[in-house]
């Protein structure tokens, strides 16, 4: 039996060309996380601002965002993906995964952004206003420079978290790095080497950014 299976080349070993396939998978990871992080950050900053200015928003929006942080991402993905056909919307794995990741990112960033806004002492903002700055000038020239520095490490943490959590979109069937590796493992039956290579891919994406932020943070401490 087993000789027959081998005769039709059911399995074949790991080849160099498979690295290219993994690289394409890494491209998928980068695309989906880049969209989720950029859109999610913008949305999250808006949410964070709303949380910091209004108690009403804090109660309603805050508790909605809390759900995104209290339910596992994989359940959120499956829930949303299975909810779409109920509405009669044919949405593919990529779109569904991206939407969930965007809101997941936004919920995490909102907390960070709120922290950043609240990190600016109110006396400083009052001073800006009393110098004749408008509300938005105060936000742009006082809150942003001070707040952004305060929350950069936390934001990077969120962004890298989303980059790694994007691996879960593979559950829906979108071919990103992890899904690509599973497909290769099924064909080659060499899980150890492939998972190691995938680990290196993720490491290469995540490690430089985390090190860079750590260095930036250290430099800013002396300013």
């Amino acid at each position: 039996m087993s000789t027959e299976v081998n005769a039709i080349q059911f399995f074949s070993g790991f080849q160099v060309s498979d690295l290219w396939y993994l690289a394409k998978g890494a491209g998928g990871t980068i695309v989906i996380s880049a969209i989720a992080i950029s859109v999610g950050t913008i949305l999250g900053c808006l949410f964070g601002w709303a949380l910091s200015v209004s108690r009403w928003a804090n109660m309603t929006l805050g508790s909605v965002l809390d759900v995104f942080r209290s339910v596992p991402l994989i359940i959120q993905l499956l829930l949303f993906f299975n909810f779409l056909p109920i509405l009669g919307l044919p949405v593919g794995p990529f779109a569904a995964g991206t939407i969930v990741l965007i809101f997941y990112t936004a919920a995490l960033v909102a907390q960070v952004a709120r922290g950043g806004i609240e990190a600016v002492p109110s006396s400083m903002r009052n001073a800006a206003r009393s110098l004749g700055m408008t509300y938005w000038q105060d936000i742009r020239y006082v809150v942003m420079p001070v707040g952004l520095r305060a929350v950069l490490p936390a934001w990077t943490g969120v962004a890298l978290g989303v980059l790694k959590d994007s691996a879960l979109v593979s559950v829906l069937g979108y071919i990103e790095l992890l899904r690509a590796s599973q497909i290769l493992v099924t064909r080659t039956q060499e899980p150890f080497i492939i998972l190691t290579i995938v680990g290196l891919f993720y490491f290469a994406l995540s490690y430089p950014i985390s090190k860079m932020t750590a260095r930036l943070e250290q430099r800013w401490q002396y300013d």
């Binding site: 339910v71 359940i75 299975n82 109920i86 009669g88 992890l178 150890f192 993720y202 490491f203 995540s206």
Partner: protein, 219 residues
């Protein structure tokens, strides 16, 4: 909308889901305990270890923090199969989560150790305590106090991360949900129920931790 919601299968399966939720809590708590012990060791190795030990701890921490938890789980689940080590689904989740928790907690502990002033250990030593005594009775309690909130966050993460067990065949809350959902074809209803239970679990964990904090760290 042509879809009719059927909640009866979910209600009938509630006892199973609750039991699975307990499994989730157990796995998370166990991986947290192992993670704390390993994390403490890793943090101390990174602070005081000699070169090879420092490198070992650093590599562990960086891998745990810079690769997805799911990949780490797959590694314990399928990667080790290359060496003929076949872990049970529970062990896969426990090893994967503990590895991940240890990596994250090590950095928290390291920050905690660095935040304790040197004078504390000097005072302890000058009172005649041995090095290990001063660590055990003076430094570590203060570190725990400092990193109590990160610790709680990590526990919440552990609860959420244990849902990945579904992908390696572990029947905790998510795995059980998926099993029941595909048995009854009520996917949306079951996943919604799981989401609600996870939400409640997280709230219970946070509430317990808050009460514990008031009891433990009150002066």
């Amino acid at each position: 909308m042509d879809y009719t919601f059927h909640w009866r299968p979910v209600i009938k399966a509630l006892p199973d889901l609750m039991e699975a939720a307990l499994t989730t809590l157990e796995a998370a708590a166990l991986s947290m305990i192992i993670g704390i012990v390993l994390g403490l060791v890793l943090a101390l190795l990174r602070l005081h270890g000699n070169r090879p030990l420092y490198l070992f701890a650093t590599v562990w921490v960086e891998i745990a923090r810079n690769t997805p938890a799911l990949l780490q789980l797959f590694f314990f689940g399928f990667g080790l199969g290359a060496f003929g080590w076949h872990l049970s689904p529970f062990m896969i989740v426990l090893c994967g989560l503990s590895f991940n928790n240890a990596g994250y907690l090590a950095e928290n502990f390291r920050g905690g150790f660095l935040a304790i002033p040197d004078t504390q250990i000097k005072a302890a030593r000058s009172l005649g305590m041995s090095a290990s005594q001063s660590y055990l009775h003076i430094i570590i309690p203060q570190v725990f106090r400092l990193i109590y909130h990160p610790l709680t966050n990590q526990l919440v993460w552990a609860v959420l991360m244990s849902s990945l067990g579904m992908l390696v065949g572990f029947r905790e809350l998510s795995g059980e949900t998926q099993f029941l959902a595909s048995n009854t074809f009520r996917l949306f209803e079951f996943f919604l129920a799981a989401a609600v239970i996870y939400y409640l679990l997280v709230k219970i964990v946070l509430g317990t931790s808050y009460l514990l904090c008031r009891k433990l760290f009150r002066y």
